[in-house]
């Protein structure tokens, strides 16, 4: 192996207005290796990679590719330098075929036919070489997310990229698909390709990378060999202090059933049935984790239970049936009945971003008599209460007059949690409690959830992060395509078993696992595309 780095960044800085996203960053990545870049949300990982791909222009610094200085002003220049990027949100044309997406921007001439023919051949050999098979004539919108990602990788390889950047590639994949992706990456590394893997998942870094760089607040805090480090050390480097990666909790002592969901059905605006008869029971003093890949009905379940989507079936809280449509089925009525809700998307559903923190701490409960003073609201009382809540939930900065959008993701989430938990709900629905939340805040949020459980409340935890489900749940249910595939005891199951259930399979398939999962995902994508087409 030569000692000229495939990629060398020297002193890269980039500011967006007053925000310094990248500050004097330097890294060296050797050819034929997988280099991980880890850091919390907003640490500047994606910005750095976008600069490398020419999507943004750095304010200062140099980029060297294979020992030569390159001026990467746009994506065209990055492609010419042999750099390919797989974005977190795919850049694919949904109603084009795989082949058309591959050649877009890399056509051989003014007419399509010869380009398509050549691409077909190249695709075939790439598929064999790297286990990257996709149907070249299928429309992208009919592909599963995992296959769409393969198209993105193929796009980069078709442009003869030697350096591949992947931004949070596993966020949308089932565990089996993620395993397959890692096999592909391994194959690519063996062929001498250089890979930059951006992620916030420590496990992935430990599993696949050769070296890892840690970013914190726009700066590169360390670069180490993966073999010489541990998840604990990386977490500490990311956050800047020691963090507990494991949640401390006593075994649950489940009491009576508080929430009963029976045969819940919901059809969305496109006419797709998103919930196909979901039944669940939630007991006092337990956390039920609902695992599943995003887009399998868990969001809709929260919307229905939270009171902003109509459904058929039955939901009983404390034995009382809740109306599922019409009057009395709104979010306010649910909250009044004792059903707290921390929505999945805190920025659109959990908070009103331009409003202040103290206003946000009472939404949904603002008609409560204790906030009223005659016809008006008792703003002074609300503000005082908000300041108290923010202090107890360690919201930083502890300023009730600051607009919600000015807080970081973790602190926004703490505001929502404070509002919902402080009302002492019987049942709390929590969607993606730590999405986009930094590790330090994750620790705090997890502790609060366990504390609520220990007070005898029932918690429905919806998360696409399997690690989080394992860490918190007393019982795990798996949802796939609007149906509950089964329930498991977290102590007696593992990632593989849950991964199968998340792909809609109740037992190990006879043939290769990857193919079985692929088939399931493709079938699901096709069913959904049918309704949209």
């Amino acid at each position: 192996m030569s000692d000229i780095p495939a990629i060398e960044l020297k002193g890269i800085s980039k500011a967006f207005g007053p925000v310094q996203a990248n500050r004097d960053i330097s890294i060296r990545v050797m050819p034929g290796t997988i280099h991980g870049i880890i850091g919390e949300n907003g640490a500047g990982k994606s910005t750095l990679m976008s600069i490398l791909y020419g999507f943004y222009k750095a304010d200062a610094g140099e980029i060297h590719v294979n020992g030569t200085r390159r001026d990467i002003t746009d994506s065209q220049a990055a492609i010419a330098a042999g750099i390919g990027m797989v974005f977190q949100h795919f850049k694919l044309v949904q109603n084009f075929t795989v082949l058309e997406n591959i050649i877009l921007g890399a056509e051989d001439g003014p007419l399509l036919r010869p380009s398509l023919a050549r691409a077909r051949g190249v695709l075939k050999s790439l598929a064999e070489e790297y286990e990257l098979s996709v149907d070249p004539d299928e429309l992208v919108e009919n592909l599963s997310v995992g296959h769409q990602q393969r198209v993105e990788i193929l796009k980069a390889l078709y442009r003869q990229a030697d350096i591949l950047i992947l931004d949070e590639p596993t966020g949308v994949l089932t565990p089996a698909e993620a395993d397959h992706l890692f096999r592909i990456l391994d194959n690519l590394r063996r062929e001498g390709k250089t890979i930059l893997l951006i992620t916030h998942k420590l496990r992935e870094i430990m599993e696949i990378t050769d070296t890892v760089s840690v970013m914190r607040r726009g700066q590169m805090t360390a670069t180490v060999r993966t073999a010489d480090t541990s998840p604990e050390e990386l977490a500490e480097l990311m956050v800047g202090r020691k963090v507990l990666l494991r949640v401390d909790k006593a075994p649950a002592t489940p009491g009576r059933v508080l929430l009963e969901v029976e045969n819940l059905r919901h059809v969305d605006a496109h006419g797709v049935e998103r919930l196909k008869g979901v039944s669940l029971q939630l007991r006092a003093g337990e956390i039920l984790g609902l695992a599943g890949v995003a887009g399998n009905g868990q969001s809709e379940l929260l919307e229905v239970l939270g009171g902003y989507a109509a459904a058929k079936g039955a939901v009983r809280l404390n034995g009382q049936a809740l109306p599922l449509a019409g009057p009395g089925s709104d979010a306010g009525a649910r909250r009044a009945a004792g059903l707290g809700h921390v929505p999945e998307d805190r920025q659109t559903e959990g908070l009103i971003m331009p409003y202040t923190a103290w206003e946000n701490t009472v939404f949904g409960y603002h008609r409560d008599p204790r906030y009223q003073r005659g016809l008006l609201m008792d703003n002074a009382a609300i503000r005082a209460e908000a300041a108290d809540k923010m202090a107890r939930y360690d919201v930083r900065p502890p300023d009730p007059d600051l607009a919600a959008r000015n807080f970081s993701g973790g602190n926004q989430q703490k505001i929502v949690l404070a509002r919902e938990i402080e009302r002492d709900p019987e049942v709390l629905l929590i969607g993606q409690p730590t999405r986009g939340v930094d590790i330090g805040a994750i620790e705090f949020i997890h502790k609060e959830i366990v504390r609520l459980r220990d007070r005898g409340k029932a918690i429905l935890l919806v998360s696409v992060e399997l690690d989080e489900i394992f860490a918190l749940s007393d019982r795990i249910a798996v949802i796939f395509d609007g149906q509950i595939m089964g329930e498991r005891d977290p102590a007696r199951t593992n990632q593989t078993e849950l991964g199968l259930l998340m792909a809609g399979m109740t037992e190990m398939p006879d043939g290769p696992l990857v193919e079985a999962v692929d088939a399931q995902m493709a079938a699901k994508a096709a069913r959904e595309a049918e309704h949209h087409g």
């Binding site: 967006f16 791909y53 999507f55 943004y56 746009d74 994506s75 065209q76 220049a77 990055a78 492609i79 990027m85 974005f87 949100h89 850049k91 694919l92 044309v93 949904q94 109603n95 084009f96 058309e100 997406n101 050649i103 877009l104 921007g105 890399a106 056509e107 001439g109 003014p110 007419l111 399509l112 036919r113 380009s115 796009k155 087409g533």
Partner: protein, 321 residues
């Protein structure tokens, strides 16, 4: 109905459908690239005026045609500048262009020609003459096929034939060329085009320019082919009907042809049967005139089914942060 009457109605359908078809294809290029264009009407109107004005002054319809295309291109450039470069609202920009064209054409016409907001009637080389196709006269006596060839196929101005040729050409460009692939992509997922190293702005301006040329043809045909001169508001909502046809056609070139012929037929029928009686009661002329527009609404509301516009349509492209 007599065979000859039928042919005459169809012949008039072709003439009336042509400005719709050209404008519809213009909109197709623009909207496929993600730029909604409600300003087709204004561009046609401007082109109709300037082509008639230049043809009247110079006596050359070809110079008139060039001027018409120029006028339409200028308005396209304004629309492109507003909605692509400055990322403004495409509807508002389009509406502004319609107002601008509506006022400016009459104002200039009055100022230049002082004939009450119209141009002088075009004669001779100032108009597109009907082309008589080879053997049309001789073959007209052949039963059935002869009259069809003579009445329907032959005897249109050259722009009509150009318009029909534009349909396969548009299809070929969109679906068989690199340019077309990129153009469609930029209307569906501009970020995919951008990350592939192709200029989104460049593609969209190209599409808007093509739209300008085709609207120019449509307007020029209106004033120098279909009629002999410009009169105020002579487009009479054709730009909007073209948009309706575009939706009806689901943004596809061949479908656009059939949609425009259908709308052309409605207009031809309304023109032909001005004094229709139903059960002895004469229908008011105004109702017949309004019929194509009423049917436009009915067709759009009832028969379009699910039309999926280009996904990035109407949205200025901004790199995400």
């Amino acid at each position: 109905m007599e065979f000859v009457t039928l042919l005459q109605v169809l012949d008039s359908t072709v003439r009336l459908a042509m400005p719709l078809l050209l404008a519809c294809l213009a909109g197709l290029f623009s909207e496929r690239a993600g730029i909604f264009d409600i300003g087709l009407e204004g561009k046609m109107l401007a082109a109709a005026f300037l082509s008639a004005a230049v043809a009247a002054v110079t006596g050359s319809v070809w110079l008139g045609l060039l001027a018409g295309i120029g006028a339409s291109l200028l308005l396209s450039a304004i629309h492109g500048l507003a909605s692509i470069t400055f990322r403004g609202n495409q509807l508002i920009s389009g509406v502004a262009i319609n107002f601008l064209a509506s006022g400016l054409t009459v104002l200039l016409a009055q100022d230049w020609f002082a004939e009450g907001g119209r141009t002088p009637s075009l004669m001779g080389a100032g108009r597109f003459e009907s082309l008589t196709l080879p053997f049309a006269e001789t073959l007209s006596t052949v039963p059935v096929l002869g009259p069809i060839y003579y009445e329907l196929i032959s005897g249109h101005s050259i722009l009509v034939y150009v318009g029909f040729l534009m349909v396969p050409l548009t299809w070929w460009v969109l679906f068989r060329t690199r340019f077309g692939l990129r153009l469609r992509a930029v209307g569906e997922a501009p970020e995919a085009v951008d990350t592939a190293g192709v200029s989104v702005v460049g593609m969209r301006f190209a599409a808007v320019a093509i739209c300008g040329v085709l609207c120019g043809l449509a307007g020029a045909y209106l004033a120098t082919g279909l009629q002999a001169g410009f009169v105020r508001e002579m487009t009479a909502g054709r730009g909007y009907i073209a948009l309706a046809a575009l939706i009806f056609a689901k943004w596809r070139p061949w479908h656009a042809l059939w949609a425009c012929l259908l709308f052309g037929l409605l207009q031809a029928v309304a023109l032909r049967y001005q004094n229709l009686e139903i059960a002895g009661i004469p229908l008011p002329v105004q109702l017949m005139d309004a019929l194509p527009y009423i049917l436009t609404v009915v067709i759009l509301a009832g028969f379009v089914g699910k039309a999926i516009p280009p996904r990035a349509g109407g949205q200025p492209y901004v790199k995400e942060r």
